[in-house]
Symmetry: C2
Amino acid sequence: MPTDLPTERAVRKPGTMELDPAGEGIALDETPRLIASNKVEGTAVYDGTGRHLGSVHNFMVDKVSGQVAYAVLAFGGFLGLGENRHPLPWRALRYSTELGGYVVDIDPGALAGAPSHGPGEDSFADPDYQKQLEDYYGSRFQAA
Amino acid sequence: MPTDLPTERAVRKPGTMELDPAGEGIALDETPRLIASNKVEGTAVYDGTGRHLGSVHNFMVDKVSGQVAYAVLAFGGFLGLGENRHPLPWRALRYSTELGGYVVDIDPGALAGAPSHGPGEDSFADPDYQKQLEDYYGSRFQAA
């Protein structure tokens, strides 16, 4: 398991979805500019120290603008985060080619205190949920 | 199978990803504004007369901007379109609450003549592929 902090060179600009352009078998669902929706789903997520946290469960897209808004992370009970889904502003994720996944500079404690929902909960149907997320993460992850 | 042309009221603005807000079990992955990536995948696609064409295989997202660029449609050999994947500009799709899927105002002949790729082909790795798509569809589907 990778433990080193990803180098600056290998870390993509915050908010980009780029996966490893040198990886195997990526041509089908990745171009220099585009990536397939089902390739983002399931991609590993690491913290800033390279520790594996979980994976991207899916992501939320603005229906009107077609803009990706949140990555919904699944941690599978790791680090006491439970089975809950944790939506993070898309801009909080950057891609590390060394780790082969997304990196989020946030410690598990801050994730544990963030708004989250169970696999069977419909929190996104509540208009306040997005506001809670922005209130919680807004100061941590500024728009690029 | 629905055969009526969807009414104006029930048809969403072109380029929007909205699914049926009155449908069952949608609260989990749909809000008034956001929709989950894995809910878009697999959604049915109809032509302008309400004829079922196929479904959304996945969609391509701009890695830098996080903007949805193409819906990749699968037709499963229907109407002689073969097993190929047919990328359509996202703006070409609109959602019909009556049909419970996306509507594309294009006839199968025009789809058959459009750039497409096999399930195992890596056409999106070719920078010319997007240009071919825009050349083909640009005049048919203007940006909103």
